[in-house]
């Protein structure tokens, strides 16, 4: 493995880790935060007929999960395109 491509790979891996950590923070906050630990507090507010905490626990968190995966898909495709130079590809061939 060439030096150039391994530093490119490690840049890719670090960018990937940063992205994953950010997305998981949102994932955790929406489900465990808004859906569970803050639910009793949020239930004093309403969205339509839904108490807000109840809404996040039974509807809102699921919509956010879907959005998170598609953000990840798009960002990773962009990262792949950025780091996947022909050089790196050649290194990877068996």
């Amino acid at each position: 493995m060439g030096k150039k491509s391994s530093s490119a790979s490690s840049g890719y891996w670090k960018a990937n880790l940063r992205l994953v950590v950010k997305l998981l923070a949102v994932w955790f906050f929406v489900s465990f935060g808004l859906g569970i630990f803050l639910a009793d507090f949020l239930n004093q507010f309403r969205i339509g007929g839904y108490p807000l905490g109840f809404f996040f626990a039974q509807q809102g968190s699921i919509y956010v999960f879907v959005a998170l995966i598609f953000v990840y898909v798009h960002k990773m495709d962009a990262l792949d395109a950025k780091y996947c130079t022909p050089d790196a590809e050649a290194d990877k061939a068996p």
């Binding site: 890719y12 997305l23 007929g49 809404f55 968190s61 999960f65 990773m76 990877k92």
Partner: protein, 587 residues
């Protein structure tokens, strides 16, 4: 046409469709059999994953659990969907990049150890068998309603069909059948939900109906009405939290990481052509899953409201407020035959009183009404989704459709689980360890035989289930969460975790979780052998057995890190394997 005729017709037609597809797409090589040739498009795989994933528990039990538990059931909703975020971000793309057939195969190569592979096989089999029990229970419920036969015969009929089906399919057949099954199950789930939502709230989408006002012109929100109706009968408020935050958070976390660690779901991501497809596919899978999972809360709440309003047809407390047993509707009689709905006239007034007689605060009120105990002595939660269209007086073909949908959900998941079990035994155990010299043809035959053994065992346990279908399934999640997920994740994200660390970690996770579950559910689920009482008072720190998976996972991580720290790092070849998984790829 009668409901019975419609049901035979619709279920018969759906079975003919599956068998036709399974025959058309039968496997001719081990690559076909294990990963459908690796050529499934991400959207198609997403749909198949959704069917694989959404089991009898999702289709049959979820709405019932939500209906009876209210807010507290949100752990299942968030747990069974949130896990896909973990799967997409932490496992699926890397395991696809690894590019082999089974989950134990990855663990075996990453930890350069046949023992690690064997431990993974054991974890996989224990988790999958536990999970398949829930499917058997679901099939039994659906069949007993559909064929009007006792539950036991329903389970056996289900076993026969699932067996035939899984053997014919292989991953290739299973994939295309699951796509058809997804269409059947989602149609069957949403159609009655839309009807019921329209009737009760005037809103076609149950997601909106649940947050809307009642259509009776009262201007009351549906959830407010439901809170009122259930608290008037002594039950806990629907939208409020009943259990502890800690237990709910642990259960949610256990279900999430269990979801990400379940082998029958992971292997679905081996079937797509590219790494980026594995990520996309996880997103599509969650969209298809979310359609059902955001509908289920509406179905659960509305079914509960309908049930109470049927039985408690007038004001609470007045003698005429309760339904006369002789006047009970047809659906009531249908479900009495199955033994899943039982009435006992405790105060001999010929009317049905359904209320919470376990609530000490409500006892005096109930006595003042002349009620001598709850008279619906059995209301199995599992029947709620299936009985819902009948309770709401929907057209007969809709009722028939629900039977077909429930069976589609149970069959598709059972097939996926059996494939995971069979491939672990034939590919990992037999071909990988015991008899590497066997031919491809012999390997195929071995996987079919191991399916047969698994299904017999699952059928036996299905006849003696340790709890409601969804809760049995929750135990499988605890096992996947505590053993497989940590091993897979550390295998990708750490270059330091080595063979002894991984093996001891998996054993610690699996052992502690099994021990905790057996303490409450009985050794190997044998009734009466439990050492501790399985209720919130008996749980250590209020932690339910189903919530323990995440603690087992922590034990796994801790043991693996500690042991790896004091032992030799993995060899250079393994380090290169890990670095290869972390490289970008556009192919």
């Amino acid at each position: 046409m009668s409901t019975q005729t419609w049901t035979y017709l619709v279920v018969g037609a759906s079975f003919a469709l599956y068998l036709g597809i399974a025959y058309w797409a039968r496997a001719s090589s081990t690559k076909d059999f294990y990963v459908a040739g690796g050529s499934v498009s991400p959207i198609a795989n997403g749909m198949a994953t959704a069917a694989d994933w959404m089991s009898a528990a999702s289709f049959i039990s979820l709405a019932g659990i939500i209906g009876f538990m209210g807010y507290d059931a949100s752990a299942y909703l968030m747990g069974w969907t949130g896990g896909y975020v973990l799967l997409a971000l932490l496992l699926a793309p890397y395991l696809r990049k690894f590019g082999k057939f089974t989950v134990p195969e990855f663990i075996g190569e990453r930890y350069y150890s046949k023992t690690a592979r064997l431990v993974a096989v054991v974890c996989l089999i224990v988790a999958s068998i536990t999970y398949v029990i829930g499917q058997m229970k679901g099939v039994g419920v659906a069949f007993s309603r559909f064929l009007q036969v006792p539950y036991e015969i329903g389970v056996m009929a289900g076993m026969a069909i699932v067996f035939f089906y899984a053997v014919l399919g292989g991953m290739k057949g299973i994939t295309y059948t699951q796509i058809a099954q997804y269409c059947v199950l989602i149609f069957a789930y949403t159609v009655p939900a839309i009807f019921i939502s329209l009737t009760l709230t005037g809103m076609p989408l149950p997601q909106l109906g649940l947050g809307a006002t009642m259509a009776d012109g009262s201007g009351t929100f549906l959830l407010e009405r439901l809170d009122q109706v259930v608290t008037d009968l002594g039950f806990a408020q629907y939208t409020a939290h009943k259990g502890t935050h800690l237990n709910m958070a642990l259960l949610t976390a256990s279900l999430m990481i269990g979801t990400a660690g379940l082998p029958h779901v992971i292997i679905r991501f081996f079937t797509v052509p590219k790494v980026s497809d594995a990520r996309k596919s996880a997103g599509w899978a969650l969209i298809f899953i979310a359609i059902l999972f955001t509908t289920a809360p509406g179905v659960g709440a509305m079914a509960r409201l309908n049930l109470h309003q049927t039985v408690q047809s007038g004001p609470v407390g007045s003698p005429e407020g309760n339904l006369e047993y002789a006047q009970r509707p047809q659906w009531f009689k249908n479900w009495e035959i199955t033994g899943l709905l039982v009435f006992e006239d405790k105060n001999d007034d010929g009317r049905i009183q359904y209320y919470d007689d376990k609530n000490p605060k409500f006892t005096a009120t109930a006595e003042s009404y002349g009620w001598l105990g709850n008279e619906l002595t059995t209301v199995d939660r599992d029947i709620m989704a299936l009985a819902n269209p009948e309770i709401a007086n929907l057209p007969r073909w809709v009722i028939a459709l629900v039977a077909a949908g429930g069976l589609a959900a149970a069959l598709s998941t059972a097939a996926g689980l059996l494939l995971a079990i069979a491939s672990a035994i034939s590919h990992d155990l037999l071909k990988g360890m015991l008899r590497p010299e066997i031919s491809e043809k012999q390997e195929l035959r071995a996987s079919r035989i191991s399916m047969a053994v698994a299904i017999l065992l699952a059928g036996y346990l299905g006849l003696n289930p340790p709890g409601f279908a969804a809760q049995v399934v929750a135990l499988a999640f605890g096992l996947a969460a505590s053993s497989l997920f940590p091993a897979l994740m550390m295998g990708i994200f750490s270059t330091r975790i080595n063979r002894p660390g991984a093996i001891l970690g998996m054993l610690a996770g699996l052992g502690s979780t099994l021990l905790y579950i057996f303490l409450y559910k009985g050794w190997f689920f044998v009734p009466g052998t439990n050492l501790l009482v399985d209720n919130p008072q008996g749980w250590i720190c209020g932690i339910a057995p189903a919530s323990f998976g995440v603690i087992g996972a922590m034990a796994n991580f801790a043991v693996a890190f500690t042991v790896s720290r004091f032992t030799e790092p993995p060899p250079e070849g393994v380090r290169r394997l890990i670095l290869r998984l972390r490289e970008p790829s556009i192919n």
